[in-house]
């Protein structure tokens, strides 16, 4: 299964329009700085970044499904693979990998070795372990999965900027929403 999605990810990435990542990295950094200025509380900055990601995720899923041609995943294990090998590759040009499944297969860690958001970024000591600089990614995953009927919770367990390790996001499946039309929807 691994190999199949590795290849699909590369194929899709070859197909999409690309730009160099510097503009994105620098602009993202400027926005985070602006948020820190706007909110005194760093926790609020984390929340806002996650929300912005969520808004992006609910829009981005459509392009993802259209361009990758991926249909419904059989189980959450496959979903995880698709996010790591195809989703990350298609938009950010890097792949992530999966580890630390729990026994119910409802919880995994997504490990991002080469996160373009943090290129040339250094956190001052007083923001370490407080600011989740790339928290927007958690929101994107949550938003995108919600549009395909999966309610998940994503949190950073490790951040490359604070921990001198790779970035690690914990993804927990909370609920599979039913396909039924919502009440009151005509």
């Amino acid at each position: 299964m691994n190999k199949k999605y590795d290849k699909l990810g590369t194929d899709v990435f070859n197909k999409v329009e690309k730009i160099s990542s510097e503009l994105f990295t620098l602009t993202y950094g400027a926005l985070v700085t602006q948020l820190i200025k706007d909110y005194e509380d760093i926790e609020q900055v984390n929340i806002k970044l996650e929300q912005m990601g969520y808004n992006i995720g609910i829009r981005l899923i459509e392009e993802f499904l259209a361009k990758s041609g991926i249909g419904r995943c059989q189980d959450f294990i496959e979903t995880a693979e698709v996010i790591a090998k195809v989703g990350f590759k298609m938009f950010l040009g890097v792949t992530a990998h999966i580890s630390d499944w729990d026994s119910d297969k409802k919880e995994f860690h997504l490990i991002i070795e080469d996160n373009p958001l943090i290129d040339f970024v250094e956190l001052p000591d007083h923001y370490k372990h407080k600011l989740y600089y790339s928290n927007i990614l958690c929101g994107v995953i949550r938003g995108a999965l919600e549009m395909v009927q999966m309610k998940v919770k994503c949190t950073f367990v490790k951040c490359a900027l604070s921990d001198e390790s790779t970035s690690e996001i914990k993804v927990v499946l909370e609920e599979v929403l039913s396909d039924l039309i919502p009440v009151g929807y005509d």
Partner: protein
Amino acid sequence: LISSSCFEFFYIEMIDYIMKSSSDKTQAHKKLDKLGYKVGHRLVERLSNETPLFPELLDAVKFICKVFWTNIFKKTIDGLKTNHKGVFVLTDSKFQWLQHLSFDATANNKDCSEYVQFAAGLIKGAMSNFGFKCIVSFDIQQVSTCVFTIKIES
């Protein structure tokens, strides 16, 4: 490399945040201009390794039209005019950040200048890195043609 749409999804969300978190349009534009300035200033630093440290004015503007613009938009500026007295007019006839806006003829608000202001800031920041202080204004023409005017301050 990243996908262009990745940046654009983010860009739309950033503009939305700045608009909502500002008291009025003027303040929002100021913020976008400043953000652009910072990014442009730093981006030039990464792109201009091979150009001389203090280029001539015209060379600096040409650098922006070619190298800088291509790095951001994958195309060069389509037209450059100057009065040789410190005013440069740059035309991008297919400005990327206006391409995907849907146009609603019935809407009251047809202003989409907030999607361009950041780019004006980028130019200003880039010029300042070359040592030129300037004012950058812009005009949106037709569907997605953008005209930027750089005015050097002496």
